[in-house]
Amino acid sequence: MSRAKATTTNGAAANGASRRRGRSASKTDNGPGVDALHALEKSELLSLYRQMYLIRRFEERSAEQYAYGKIGGFLHLYIGEEAVAVGAIKALSPADHLVTHYRDHGYALAIGADPGPVMAELFGKETGTTKGRGGSMHLTHVERHFWGGYAIVAGHLPIATGIGLALQYQEQDAVCMCIFGDGATNAGAFHEALNMAAIWKLPVIFLCENNLYAMGTAHQYISAVPSMATKALAYDMKAETVDGQDVLAMYEAARRAVEWCKAGNGPYFLEAMTYRFRGHSMADPETYRDKDEVEQYRSRDPITAYQEQLIEAGVADKAVFEQIDREVEEQLEAAIFFADASPFPDPSTIYDYVYAEPIWETIARNGASEDSEGPRG
């Protein structure tokens, strides 16, 4: 019988002592996030804030653009969960890889995608991150090996595992981070992927965003265990649960995970406790949870909490944040302008990308779809 490997967060692992500066810590103990607060440069700390704020406002503006009818289909906002993506991505290096579920705007922005192409993608424009083909649920950022958001719950876990296999096979010093929700841990694909990652000791970080709900169903009705990290026990996989509303604690945990994987120890299961402040998607009537509950979580807003933390720690004052906020607003204004001004895909390109190899003559000849009588033949 295997021993439990899951631990709760502790700040011990993350350190960057060489770069530690003489900033006064507001917290007296060395709890989660404190080491990072000391270890990171001021610019890095502020950059984390900026990213979270950018994501928050990007999402708010997206909701607005959706209301204007410029965005269609589903739209899964990341509001309330920003600290998870921002903290986690901070731990990745440019060599590392990322795969996410459909709730992916935060990750695209955190890993460095321009808000312009991201918004353009939401608008379905040719200048979007996938040329308007993928839409909101399938954002990418090729340069940083962000292989996309995926819309089949848990379907991307095996894919991330396969990327991990490739990294190991090619002996690369890199990890693949895979993002998914608490709901995904009940799907067979989750278990098949974790098992293989564990057997083969692949460098994959399974980062579960436990926001307590899968769409409109609370986890207690659909998961036999309340902690998703428990499920890593079945694979003897190193696991940890972290406060996903604390960006620095999140970063530290993700760093531990990256180090663990890069040291050749195999995969790492990270469960970030978080909460989405908005509905599952724009269509969600939110009939399944109390207003009170939502309010309670909203009062632990990861962005304002972090702002207060930085102010308390003397990293920055109100004016600095106001400046950042203004810059972000401008950036988003420009992003929306860019998206608006961009063209829709040219209908003549509709067959582009079906196959990576050229469409062969046979199919062109036989007229099943591409014949001269028009697109539908």
């Binding site: 269609g72 379905g124 083909r133 839409g135 089949i152 799907a187 899968a214 779809s369």
Partner: protein, 347 residues
């Protein structure tokens, strides 16, 4: 002969009046409400009927078909399941074998691919493989549809299910059929794939006042005509009616057939119509290659070869993974114009 949708409804009203005379008439409901009525009537009558699916409880179902049912029937009979399509269908297969009557909701037919092993290798096989000793009479409700949902959420696989002996496959286009078929499916003893369409839940139509069921068989002529036969099902049948309407104005008389039940497939009704019109166009939202239209065309040319005066036309989606961009999506899904064009090509 009806030439507008309003006239068709009038026709239906008349036709249905006969059937429901006992219960005194017809009333107009939405497709969604027709489904809700079918479910509640069956649940009220048979305590072994239960619902299983993702977010069918407090959330009310992704297309709001089951809203309020958990409050009414309790968690025992309206079960929110994990996101585990394979497992859910398998559980329903077992429950059905052991005497319950599960109605499973799979949010969309796209996700049914995760459960297809349970549907094809288990549900559809149980009765035959065990020599008739057991049945697995579950009902799987799921929805086809699209609307900027992207490549993985905009497909429809009814033709695949129509391939499988042991399954019954239904894809109603009207509230009346939706209710009557769903009740028949629940009362029946075979596994049924019951495929709805996300874009017609709010469509209104007449249904008989009292209780009724419609046996899971048979296409229906929605509109009579003489120049060409247009065959479709689900939302496609509505599209076909619209096209027929417009063609009528141009002096082209089309007979419109709603297949309704996709296994067993009622080729006979189509062949009879073709014997009259000598021309056939099939309309579907699926990719054309290996869409159900292929089977209908192949089967009709076999039984009505001499009746055909022109190649059977097929209208389907452009064969690409569905892009998100709305301008591309609009081109991909066939519309009235494509149907009209295909009809004219046969004349």
């Amino acid at each position: 002969m009806a030439s507008t949708l309003a006239e068709l409804e009038e026709m239906q009203r008349e036709a249905a009046k006969g059937a429901s005379r006992a219960s005194g008439g017809m009333r107009e409901v939405t497709y969604r409400d027709a489904l809700r009525e079918a479910i509640t009537e069956e649940m009220d009558k048979n305590p072994n009927v239960l619902l299983l699916g993702e977010d069918i409880g407090a959330y009310g179902g992704s297309y709001v078909v089951t809203r309020g049912f958990q409050e009414k029937y309790g968690r025992k009979r309206v079960i929110d399941t994990p996101i585990a399509e394979l497992g859910i269908v398998g559980v329903a297969v077992g429950a059905a074998m052991a005497g319950l009557k599960p109605i499973v909701e799979l949010m969309t037919i796209n996700f049914s691919l995760l459960a297809i092993d349970q549907i094809v290798n288990h549900a559809a096989k149980i009765h035959y493989m065990f020599g008739g000793q057991f049945t697995a009479p579950l009902v799987i409700r799921t929805a086809s549809g699209w609307g900027q949902l992207g490549a993985t959420h905009s497909q429809t696989f009814e033709g695949w299910y129509a391939h499988v002996p042991g399954l019954r496959v239904v894809m109603p286009s009207t509230p009346r059929d939706a209710k009557g078929f769903l009740k028949a499916a629940v009362q029946g003893n075979d596994p049924v794939m019951f495929i709805e369409h996300s874009l017609i839940y709010r469509n209104r139509g007449l249904i008989p006042d009292g209780e009724y069921i419609l046996p899971l068989e048979g296409a229906e002529v929605r509109k009579e005509g003489s120049d060409v036969t247009i065959v479709s099902w689900s939302r496609g049948a509505i599209l076909a009616m619209g096209a027929a309407d417009e063609l009528e104005r141009e002096g082209i008389s089309s007979e419109v057939i709603d297949m309704r039940v996709l296994r067993p497939l009622d080729i006979d009704t189509v062949a009879k119509s073709v014997a009259k019109t000598n021309r056939l166009v099939i309309v579907e939202e699926s990719w054309r290659t290996m869409g159900l239209g292929a089977e209908i065309a192949a089967a009709v040319q076999e039984v009505a070869f001499d009746d055909l005066d022109a190649p059977i036309g097929r209208v389907g989606s452009i064969e690409v993974p569905m892009p998100y961009a709305r301008n591309l999506e609009r081109i991909i899904i066939p519309g009235k114009d494509e149907v009209i064009q295909a009809v004219k090509a046969t004349l």
